[in-house]
C-alpha cells in the first residue's frame, strides 16, 4: 500500500474544483491570447482581446473562489503579507499555495490591464479612469503586458496540478504528472472557451479554424499525459476501480477528449466540440479531487 493512504483529506471540494476549472480556462485562454497577440495577424486581434477578457474575468472569479473556500476568509491577505509583521511580504518559493497566491495576483493584474487595453482599443470604456488606464496600454507596452499576462496565465493553468502533487494524498502525490495534465487541460479548455466566445466579438472563420486545429493537438497532448499519469500511479491505480474511475473514462476521456477529437476530425460543430471540451475539463478536476478526497485515513488504518 502506498504511504499516501495514511494522510488526511483536506476537504478541498466544490470551490476548489471550480477554481481549478475557471483558473485553467482563464490561464489557458490568456496564454493563447498572448501567443496570437505576438505572432498572429491583424485578423486574430478579436481572439486575443477575447482571451484577455476571459483571463481578467477568470482571475477575479478565481480569487473570489479561493477566498470563500478559506476557513477564515477575512484572513486571505495572510497569504501575501506576514500578519504579525506588516508590511513584510509572505512568500515561500517551495510552497505551491504561497507562490500560487502571488502568481494569481500578478495574473489578475496583468490580465486586467491587457483586457482594459483591448477595450480601450475598441472604444468600449466609458469610465474616464478606466479609459485612461486602458488607453495607456497600447503599442509596445500592450505587447509586454500581454506577454506577462500569458506567462502568468500558463503558470496558473499548471500550478494547480503541482499543488496537488506537493501533498501526501493518494493519487495526487503518487505521481508527478498532475501539473502537466492540468496545464494541457487548461490550454484545451481555454481554446474551447475562445472558440465559443470569440465569434461574438468579431473573430473570423479562419481564426476559429486555427483555434480548433490547435485544440485538436492540445487534446491529444492531454490524452497522452492522462494515460501516462494513470500508468505512473502503479498499484494506486486501483482507486480508479470506482464510480470516479467510470466518470474519468466515460466523462473525461469519452465525452471530453475523444468525442471532440472526432468532431474536429469530421470538421463538424466547432461549438459542440468546444462545449464537450469544457465538460471534460470540469470533470477532470472533479474526479481528481473527489477520488482522493473520498479516501479517509481512519478507514484505511482500520482496513475498511
Amino acid at each position: 500500500m502506498s504511504d499516501t493512504f495514511f494522510s488526511g483529506a483536506p476537504h478541498w471540494t466544490w470551490f476548489i474544483i471550480l477554481y481549478f476549472f475557471v483558473g485553467g480556462i482563464a490561464g489557458g485562454a490568456c496564454f493563447l491570447a498572448a501567443i496570437v497577440d505576438w505572432f498572429g495577424g491583424p485578423d486574430d486581434r478579436p481572439v486575443a482581446r477575447t482571451g484577455y477578457n476571459v483571463a481578467a474575468l477568470g482571475a477575479i472569479v478565481s480569487g473570489a473562489l479561493l477566498t470563500v473556500d478559506l476557513g477564515r476568509p477575512l484572513r486571505f491577505w495572510h497569504m501575501l503579507l506576514q500578519s504579525a509583521n506588516v508590511p513584510a511580504l509572505m512568500f515561500k518559493g517551495w510552497s505551491p499555495i504561497s507562490f500560487g497566491a502571488w502568481g494569481l495576483l500578478f495574473f489578475g493584474f496583468f490580465s486586467v490591464l491587457a483586457a482594459l487595453g483591448g477595450m480601450a482599443e475598441q472604444g468600449r470604456l466609458q469610465n474616464p479612469a478606466l479609459r485612461a488606464v486602458g488607453g495607456a496600454v497600447h503599442g509596445g507596452l500592450a505587447k509586454v503586458v500581454g506577454a506577462l499576462a500569458g506567462l502568468f496565465g500558463i503558470f496558473i493553468a499548471g500550478y494547480t496540478g503541482v499543488l496537488l502533487s506537493v501533498t501526501n494524498r493518494p493519487l495526487w502525490a503518487d505521481g508527478p504528472w498532475l501539473g502537466a495534465l492540468f496545464l494541457a487541460s487548461g490550454v484545451s479548455t481555454g481554446a474551447a472557451a475562445l472558440i465559443l466566445l470569440a465569434p461574438g466579438r468579431g473573430a473570423t472563420a479562419q481564426s476559429l479554424a486555427r483555434l480548433s486545429a490547435f485544440d485538436t493537438k492540445a487534446l491529444v497532448v492531454e490524452l497522452l499525459v492522462l494515460i501516462v499519469f494513470v500508468a505512473s500511479l502503479g498499484t494506486v491505480s486501483k482507486v480508479w476501480l470506482s464510480f470516479w474511475g467510470l466518470v474519468l473514462l466515460v466523462g473525461v476521456v469519452g465525452f471530453g477528449i475523444l468525442a471532440p477529437l472526432r468532431l474536429h476530425a469530421q470538421r463538424r460543430s466547432l461549438a459542440g466540440a468546444a462545449r464537450l471540451v469544457l465538460l471534460g475539463g470540469f470533470l477532470l478536476r472533479l474526479v481528481t479531487i473527489f477520488a482522493s478526497e473520498g479516501i479517509e485515513h481512519y478507514r484505511v488504518a482500520a482496513g475498511m
Binding site: 495514511f6 478559506l70 486571505f76 500558463i154 499548471g158 501533498t167 499525459v225 481512519y298 482500520a302
Partner: protein, 268 residues
C-alpha cells in the same frame, strides 16, 4: 534554543484508558463533537476514530484474534509526530506553522487562515480543521505548559507511563533499553521514528511498536510533500513548452499559407 523535547510512546504498556485523550481535551479546551452526542463506531473501543482539529490525542485499538482464545490487543496513543523535517510547516503559505525553541511544531491559530494545505501535506493524517475556530489545529505538545516548565497534559495523565515526556536524547536512550529488554523476552519490538537518520529526520514523538507500522495506521516511509515539487514543476514547464510550440507551428503554417496564397496569385 532549549533542548529538543518530545514524547516516547511505549505501546506495550498502553491499557487503552484514554486518560490522555481526556487530559488533552480538558487542558486545551477542545470542544466536543456533535454536542457530545457520539455514535458508536463499531470499531472496537475506538469511538474517536482519528486525530483531527478537536482530537489531538487518539487511542487506537487493534484487535488481532485468530480465535476466541488466541489473540492479542494492540493499543497506541497517537499524536502529532512533531517531525524534525515537517511537511506541514514547509507548505504553510501564511507562516502560521512554526518550530518552537523546544524543536516542536506549533500552529498559530491567530495567523492560520484555514487554507488546509497542511492537512494534505501531513503524511500521518494528524491535522484537521477545528470547526469552532475555522483554522487548522493539532497537538502543540502543550507549548503553553512547556514554557512554564510543566509536562504536557497527556503524559502527565498517563497512568502507565506509556506516554513518556522528556528530552529527545534521554527518551531515545530509554527507548533503546526498553527494546533490548523486550527482545530479550522474545518480543519483536521495534522503534518507529526514533532514528535521526530515518524518514523526516526523525520524529520528536516516536513509538515502540510490536507489529508493522501499517497495523498501527502509520506509514512505513513517510515523506516530505515537497519531494514532488521539482519533478512536477519540470514536467509542467515541458508540457507548456510543447503546447506553446504547437500553437506557434499553427500560426506559422497560417503565415506560410498566406504568403503562398499571395505569391501564387490565387483566386480572390
Amino acid at each position: 534554543m532549549a533542548q529538543a523535547m518530545g514524547f516516547f510512546t511505549d505501546t506495550t504498556v498502553c491499557i487503552g484508558c484514554k486518560a490522555c485523550e481526556v487530559a488533552c481535551k480538558e487542558w486545551n479546551q477542545l470542544p466536543a463533537e456533535n454536542g457530545g452526542v457520539r455514535e458508536l463506531s463499531g470499531d472496537s473501543y475506538d469511538n474517536t476514530r482519528k486525530l483531527d482539529g478537536i482530537h489531538w490525542r487518539h487511542v487506537r485499538f487493534i484487535e488481532q484474534f485468530k480465535g476466541p482464545y488466541d489473540g492479542r490487543w494492540l493499543m497506541m496513543s497517537d499524536v502529532c509526530k512533531h517531525c524534525v523535517q515537517a511537511g506541514c510547516l514547509d507548505v504553510c503559505p501564511t507562516g502560521a506553522i512554526i518550530r518552537t525553541q523546544f524543536d516542536t511544531v506549533v500552529i498559530q491559530s491567530d495567523v492560520c487562515n484555514g487554507c488546509r494545505a497542511c492537512i494534505a501535506a501531513c503524511p500521518f493524517g494528524v491535522i484537521d480543521i477545528n470547526p469552532v475556530s475555522g483554522t487548522a489545529q493539532k497537538c502543540t505538545l502543550c507549548y503553553d505548559r512547556l514554557q512554564v516548565g510543566l509536562e504536557p497534559a497527556c503524559s502527565k495523565a498517563c497512568p502507565t507511563d506509556s506516554i513518556q515526556f522528556g528530552t529527545i536524547s534521554e527518551l531515545r536512550t530509554r527507548a533503546e533499553k526498553r527494546v533490548a529488554q523486550l527482545k530479550s523476552q522474545g518480543v519483536a519490538a521495534e522503534l518507529y521514528g526514533a532514528d535521526p537518520g530515518g524518514p523526516l529526520g526523525g520524529l520528536n514523538s516516536f513509538y515502540l511498536l510490536v507489529d508493522k507500522p501499517e497495523v498501527y495506521g502509520l506509514p512505513r516511509h513517510p515523506e516530505l510533500p515537497t519531494q514532488n515539487l521539482r519533478k512536477s514543476a519540470g514536467l509542467s514547464v515541458a508540457s507548456a513548452a510543447v503546447l506553446g510550440v504547437l500553437a506557434l507551428v499553427g500560426l506559422r503554417k497560417r503565415r506560410m499559407d498566406d504568403m503562398g496564397g499571395a505569391g501564387g496569385g490565387g483566386p480572390n
